[in-house]
């Protein structure tokens, strides 16, 4: 858990903790949290500038950002909680509501749409037994529709946490969901045959 990474490359490393439960308490009092904060602060002239990376870190740890986390980030960066709230709500890719362990975003823009993205989306919803944006009963899945994920050459694209699954067809969905359900290790949440670049 305590991978010592050079501060200069910290934001480039996809980071997904194996066990989110270990972050039950204050995030910046854990060893990893302290390290991340220090690394981020070393990169910018002001503490305020580290706000986006720190919100991103919180989301990678917990999957979403709740008001208590905003207070924690604000205290760590000498900002007011209100200011952190304004930034966190401005950016739509910070989740302000809980999501499942596997946060599935199905691209439904033009290229994917032409490649049956709507069917993929509905298949994901059916397989996980959720409505869009809902957390499944076992806490494993949240499925949402996403705007262009920038991988139009490999439509339909599905993003699971930080990993891309490419060329997804509706027929592959049950298999993907089953594998994700079996993967207790959050770090490999993308599944064994996750293709392409993260």
């Amino acid at each position: 858990m305590s991978r010592r990474i050079h501060p200069a490359v910290v934001p480039a490393q996809p980071f997904q903790l194996t066990a989110r439960e270990t972050f039950d308490g204050p995030i910046f009092e854990t060893e990893e949290g302290r390290h991340r904060l220090k690394a981020a602060l070393s990169r910018y002239p002001t503490k305020q500038a580290a706000l986006l990376p720190m919100l991103g870190f919180v989301q990678s740890v917990k999957g979403w950002i709740e008001p208590a986390d905003m207070v924690e980030v604000a205290e760590a960066l000498d900002l007011t909680p209100a200011y952190v709230h304004s930034i966190a709500t401005f950016y739509t890719m910070y989740n302000k509501h809980p999501v499942g362990r596997h946060f599935v975003q199905v691209c439904t823009n033009i290229s994917c749409h032409l490649n049956r993205a709507e069917e993929v989306l509905h298949r994901f919803l059916a397989e996980t037994g959720t409505r869009e944006g809902e957390v499944s009963e076992d806490g494993e899945f949240t499925v949402i529709e996403a705007e262009c994920l920038g991988a139009c050459g490999f439509a339909t694209v599905v993003q699971v946490n930080d990993r891309y699954l490419e060329d997804v067809t509706p027929e592959r969905v049950p298999e993907i969901v089953a594998k994700l359900r079996g993967a207790r290790d959050g770090a490999t949440a993308g599944g064994p045959e996750a293709g392409g670049g993260a």
Binding site: P67, M70, V71, L79, A82, H85, T89, F90
Partner: protein
């Protein structure tokens, strides 16, 4: 700037009128010099940041391909600005059209109706039909603080309130949440604003989005009367406008005065002023008739008091005055005390918390909870802690058991005993209210509060500021100077005055502390009294007396 050979002033043409302004002036301000008010939302003269985000103040500048926001555009020599060209007007109309896409148009129930910049500009653009078919987005209302409500649907996201809190009050607790058409003003979830100056966000709101809860649905803009006044909450003397309806104060707003409060005032002042509506007032003159106080008309009361004064001569005695009394009232009491041979009046000042607005050094909520303690001191008043503290070496304290004359001007006499003033040869009580401790008075003369008359206060640094009548006094209550000038006139001392100007002029002529001031000269923004800290500052060129608002 000077090293580049830049001049101290620049001359430009705005709407065909040439105007010379200090260099560095923004076009939106230069335009005001020629009487052109460029429509604006996000620009406010009291808020230093100018994001130019509302796009209302776009003007056409000759030789430039695009419209420029006049709130950030610096005036330059030979610039030719057109604020009302077809292009500028069309741009403005588009902004209004966008704002009205989601605006609920609830003017009939909106507290800002009649004083709303969206309403005003929408009328000017005169576009009666919307081109938008989509349903409006509905957001509802929120509570921003214990007494401020936020109607999100009316908001134009000019961020004046956010920037007042962040850049003027330096309290970064009000923010814009979300973005685009979902944007709204918010505090952190579960927290409310808690700043002693937060009420100003309601004043800077150009529309009806932010409203004081105690004003909601109380009065329409066109039903209110306004009077220029001075806040009596502390010795700072913030310039205010009192809005009244049916002889009640319904709202108080700060009035700009660069030397005192800039554009702002504190929340204590607002609440304090609205509180003056409350309480039971003294409404009728009372004179002693054996064991009883008998209500009489003014002529009888004044004749009788003058008669008693004549008979008393100069017995000495004691006096208590209120630090909320106007300079004119204090002057006449002072004259009366001189006749009676009373050395100096005692006064008490309630104390409270202090608060400062970080970016406006002259504006502070000061500890004294009274408007005119400085004025009382100029007339030789002596500050005491309690009425009966005389035994602790404070010679001017009043125990209420002395002989001679006892004069009380509007002090509520908290802490006075049953027999307060019982031993006095003559106990004259002039008050806005009638406290129990006035039961031993020989005469009670009902007087008007500061809101019910014209007059002046002297603020903490000796600045004499005018206030004007906002309310009718209840019953037979009359201004103190009007009453006392009549008592003195009956004793052959001066004339009865009916207008505050007469009282003020006599005070200036006879009280050296106020020498040189004139009623017109101090205008609506005040002027420093001779020998005061403010006068010394003016002489040193820090800030001079304001010109008269003729």
């Amino acid at each position: 700037m000077a090293e580049n050979g830049a001049k101290a002033t620049v001359t430009l043409t705005i709407d065909g009128v040439e105007v010379t302004v200090p260099s560095g002036t923004r076009v939106i301000e230069a335009a005001e010099h020629v009487g052109v008010v460029v429509p604006r939302y996000c620009y406010h003269p009291g808020i230093p940041t100018r994001p130019a985000q509302c796009r209302m103040c776009l003007v056409e500048v000759e030789g430039r391909p695009k419209l420029e926001p006049s709130c950030t555009l610096q005036a330059a020599d030979e610039m030719v600005v057109n604020t009302a060209s077809d292009t500028a007007r069309t741009a403005r109309q588009s902004v209004i059209e966008f704002l009205l896409v989601n605006h609920p148009l609830d003017c009939p129930i909106c507290d800002a109706a009649g004083q709303c910049m969206l309403q005003d500009y929408a009328y000017v653009t005169n576009q009666l039909e919307s081109r938008v078919d989509e349903p409006k987005r509905i957001m509802g209302r929120d509570r921003i603080s214990d007494d401020i409500l936020y109607f999100a649907d009316r908001c134009v996201i000019c961020t004046r309130c956010v920037r007042f809190m962040r850049d003027v009050a330096e309290d970064d607790s009000l923010i814009v949440a979300q973005r685009g058409d979902k944007a709204y003003i918010d505090t952190f979830p579960g927290r409310e604003l808690d700043n002693p100056f937060q009420g100003n966000i309601v004043d800077v709101c150009p529309v009806g989005a932010l409203v004081h809860e105690d004003f909601v649905f109380k009065a329409r803009a066109w039903d209110m009367d306004a009077a220029a006044s001075v806040c009596p909450g502390c010795p700072t003397g913030c310039n205010v406008t009192i809005d009244t309806k049916e002889n009640q104060i319904v709202r108080v707003k700060p009035r700009h005065n660069a030397a005192v409060n800039s554009w702002w005032m504190c929340d204590h002042g607002r609440r304090h002023l609205v509180m003056t509506n409350r309480g039971v007032r003294a409404e009728v003159p009372l004179i002693r008739d054996g064991e009883q106080l008998r209500p009489v008309d003014w002529a009888t009361a004044l004749d009788w008091v003058a008669e008693q004064m004549e008979a008393l001569g100069s017995p000495g005695g004691s006096a208590v005055v209120s630090p909320d009394a106007s300079n004119e009232n204090l002057f006449y009491v002072h004259r009366l005390l001189e006749r009676l041979g009373v050395a100096g009046a005692a006064f008490r000042v309630a104390q409270g918390d202090t608060a400062a607005l970080p970016t406006v050094p002259t504006l502070k909520l000061r500890a004294d909870r009274a408007a005119n303690a400085t004025g009382v001191e100029l007339f030789g008043g002596c500050r005491v802690d309690g009425l009966a503290d005389g035994s602790e070496g404070n010679g001017s304290a009043v125990s209420g058991s002395e002989g001679g004359a006892l004069v009380v001007l509007d002090d509520a006499l908290e802490g006075a005993g049953e027999d307060f003033g019982g031993a006095a040869d003559f106990f004259l009580y002039l008050g806005t209210r009638l406290p129990g401790a006035a039961r031993n008075a020989d005469a009670v003369l009902p007087i008007a509060t500061f809101a019910e008359m014209d007059g002046t206060f002297t603020n903490f640094e000796g600045r004499v500021q005018r206030f004007h009548q906002a309310l009718r006094p209840p019953g037979l209550a009359r201004p103190g100077w009007m009453v006392l000038s009549r008592v003195l006139a009956r004793l052959g001392d001066g004339e009865a005055v009916n207008e505050v100007r007469g009282a003020f002029e006599r005070m200036v002529a006879e009280a050296p502390a106020f020498a040189g001031l004139t009623w017109d000269g101090i205008g609506l923004k005040g002027a420093p009294a001779a020998g005061s800290a403010a006068a010394a500052a003016a002489a040193a060129g820090i800030h001079g007396p304001q010109k008269a608002d003729a």
